[in-house]
């Protein structure tokens, strides 16, 4: 059946939007999840992703048109209708719901030829995608037999980098959707992953001193930013834990992107801090402040929640000493940090670190070494400069 392309509802205050551009033309193949068109509201410009795979047809709104939300502006015909096969014998066997119509024949004429429903990816494209941390699900193919080839991945990377260069768009998304994503994700994780947690108490005196010195120098940072800084270094040094599970595939990523568990007041959200290993403390502090603020306003977007390669939960501000982090998949490991306690024993200040990991994907040796390095960086923060 054909999936209608509906203008998405964008919150209570938006009734109409303007079509900025179509990324696909009438008759072009579309894959679920790839950007289909862009709209502009009074607040923001947004890319809207295709909700199904098939062939785009019946486009009724053109660029510049103002359209009401929830209106159908096109449809995506699935393979049974607009795809590559449709003989009478197969129709009897496969029992498609609609007999091939005139419009589906027209759509077929301009559809790239595919031998089957499978999306091919050239070895070269797969290699590049893995090196650059690109999820191939998001890339449309233009090569032989519709395969994703190198130029498709490069074009995707170019779009990503130009998206990063433009000032952050004010993205509208209802708070409810954010919370759904989080709940669904956390539920899925807990069900599947056999978790192991390692705990260690670290001497935090040096780090507390460092933070006081920075404050005296008018660099305002939170404890969380220090943990991020330490994690960025440790994950760069030990990339085995900078990984996530995609379906059945474990992927290690070249970029270090830490999902930060944030209490929005209404529930938890896990926005992602990008390239943690590349940023100075002050920049990390700015970004976490902004993410927290957006989380509280319910203004996080789906983009903010994508792409974590590791997860951090800091319950220090909540007054918790130690806890068992439960894994926010698809990352393979998660660090929990408690509050910094003054004068515990020999040290002036101590903090509990807990590392939960999926034991199918990380072995205890790697996990221990990683946690040891994190503790060492906290106890001897001068190592961050080395």
């Amino acid at each position: 059946m054909a999936h209608p392309v509906l203008v998405p509802p964008l919150g209570q205050t938006v009734d109409t939007v303007t079509i900025v551009t179509w990324y696909k033309r009438e008759g072009e193949a579309v894959r679920e999840g790839e950007p289909l068109y862009a709209i502009e509201t009074d607040k923001a410009v947004l890319d809207i992703e295709a909700q199904a795979s098939g062939v785009l047809r019946g486009v009724t709104a053109t660029e510049g048109d103002e359209v009401e939300v929830l209106r159908a502006i096109a449809e995506i015909a699935t393979a049974a209708e607009g795809g590559t096969v449709g003989t009478t014998a197969e129709a009897a066997d496969g029992a498609p719901e609609v007999a091939p119509s005139e419009s589906s024949v027209a759509a077929r004429a301009v559809t790239p030829v595919r031998r089957g429903p499978r999306q091919f990816v050239s070895p070269r494209a797969r290699r590049l995608a893995e090196a650059e941390g690109v999820s191939l699900e998001e890339v449309a193919g233009s090569g032989p037999e519709g395969a994703v080839v190198e130029r498709d991945v490069r074009a995707w990377l170019e779009r990503r980098s130009s998206a990063q260069e433009t000032p952050p768009r004010e993205l509208a998304a209802p708070a409810a959707a954010v919370s759904e994503v989080v709940v669904a994700q956390m539920g899925a994780k807990l069900a599947g992953a056999p978790l192991v947690t390692l705990d260690v108490e670290a001497d935090a005196s040096a780090l507390t001193g460092l933070r006081a010195q920075l404050a005296a120098a008018e660099v305002e940072i939170a404890d969380t930013d220090l943990w991020l800084c330490v994690l960025g270094r440790a994950l760069r040094d030990q990339p085995a834990l900078n990984a996530s599970l995609e379906g059945d595939v474990l992927r290690r990523w070249p970029r270090v992107q830490v999902g930060l568990v944030v209490d929005t007041g209404d529930g938890l959200a896990v926005p992602v801090v990008r390239d943690v290993d590349q940023k100075r403390l002050a920049q990390l502090a700015r970004e976490t402040r902004e993410l927290r603020a957006r989380a509280h306003e319910g203004a996080l977007t789906a983009e903010d929640l994508k792409g974590a390669t590791f997860t951090l939960a800091d319950l220090g501000a909540a007054g918790i000493d130690t806890f068992t982090p439960f894994l926010d998949a698809p990352t393979t490991a998660m660090m929990g940090v408690g509050r910094i306690r003054k004068g515990g024993g020999a040290a002036d200040a101590t903090v509990w670190l807990s590392l939960s990991y999926d034991r199918r994907l990380v072995d205890a040796g790697r996990a221990s070494r990683f946690l040891r390095q994190v503790a060492q960086l906290i106890e001897q923060p001068y190592r961050l400069l080395a």
């Binding site: 050239s122 070895p123 494209a125």
Partner: protein, 337 residues
């Protein structure tokens, strides 16, 4: 630097090697007869006058005899340059070439060598199925034989001289449309590539290929005549903004694998063009090497452009269809993009 055809370059190589080394001699059919052509394609023209009939040795029409003389003389210490009028006749010599020449060094524990050169013209040139075959793959398959396939005058001279000095049996495949022979021995449709050949002594090492044209989008490997088909296709593709790199392996055994692999690692695409039949051909082996060693660099399926699995046809129209054309190479390249 002199400009000469491949036939002239081969002749000069033979002459220089015969002057340099008294052990070198030629053996073949009609290579030195008075009033003859100098072999089927003029390569030995005039050499019998200079070196006499003892070193430019005419034989009866018996390829088995030629092979026996050449292999025996080589084992006994001479350096024969044997030739057949058409490569197709190498099949008459198969036992001697494959069972004797190729294996003698191995079977004797290295005590006997067979420093023989066997020259053989190949390619479809309106002479029908038995004077048209491209036999390279039959011999690249045999351990113990070296195989070269020069496509320019410079390489023809340099490779033949290296072959004469090599202690292994070396097959030299030459394409009938590339000799540039003049007069009655010029084949219909000949390309006559005339190239510059240095006056001073030089060798082209056996085992080194060459990039004939640099490019970034696709690698095309061609040899002998199909090198020129590849170059022609590359020129036309360039007009469309498609940048093709063209590689001439020059030596087929031992193959300069790294040159091809390096190019494919750069371009991500490979088209192999050859005049032989498709099945079990030389192109299949190149494709297998790249699939095994550079798989993760490939951006598209490897494509072979070859003759169909039929004997070469006699009719010119059918032959034009049979031998890979520039258009087929262009089509193959497009299919990879």
């Amino acid at each position: 630097m002199a400009k000469m055809s491949i036939a002239e370059a081969l002749r000069q190589a033979i002459r220089e090697e015969m002057v340099r080394d008294p052990r070198v001699f030629c053996v073949g059919e009609d290579i030195g007869v008075e009033g003859g052509f100098g072999g089927a394609f003029t390569v030995t023209l005039g050499l019998s006058e200079e070196f006499g009939h003892e070193r430019i040795l005419d034989t009866p029409i018996s390829e088995i005899g030629i092979a026996g003389v050449a292999i025996g003389a080589a084992m006994a210490g001479l350096r024969p340059i044997a030739d057949v009028q058409y490569g197709d006749f190498l099949f008459c010599m198969m036992d001697q070439l494959v069972n004797q020449a190729a294996k003698m060094t191995y079977m004797s524990g290295g005590t006997v060598s067979v420093p023989m050169v066997m020259r053989a013209p190949v390619g479809s040139t309106r002479r029908g199925a038995q004077h048209a075959q491209s036999l390279e793959a039959f011999f690249t398959h045999v351990p113990g034989l070296k195989v070269v396939a020069p496509a320019t005058a410079y390489d023809a001279k340099g490779l033949l001289k290296s072959a004469v000095r090599d202690d292994n049996p070396v097959l030299v495949f030459e394409h009938k449309l590339l000799y540039g022979s003049k007069g009655p021995r010029s084949e219909a449709g000949a390309l006559s590539p005339v190239g510059e050949v240095p006056d001073e002594e030089y060798l082209v090492p056996i085992g080194k290929g060459i990039v004939r044209r640099e490019g970034s989008d696709v690698t095309i490997v061609g040899k002998l005549l199909t090198l020129y088909r590849a170059l022609g296709a590359a020129e036309k593709l360039a007009a469309e903004g498609i940048s093709a790199e063209v590689i001439d392996p020059r030596t087929l055994v031992p193959l300069d694998r790294e040159l091809i692999l390096e190019s494919v690692r750069k371009t991500g695409r490979l088209v192999i063009v050859e005049e032989d039949n498709l099945t079990g051909g030389w192109a299949a082996d190149i494709a297998a090497i790249v699939a095994e060693e550079a798989f993760f660099y490939l951006d598209a399926p490897i494509v072979r452009v070859s003759a169909p699995d039929t004997p070469a046809p006699f009719a010119p129209v059918m032959e034009a269809f049979y031998v890979p054309s520039e258009e087929r190479v262009i089509e193959a390249v497009r299919s990879t993009l």
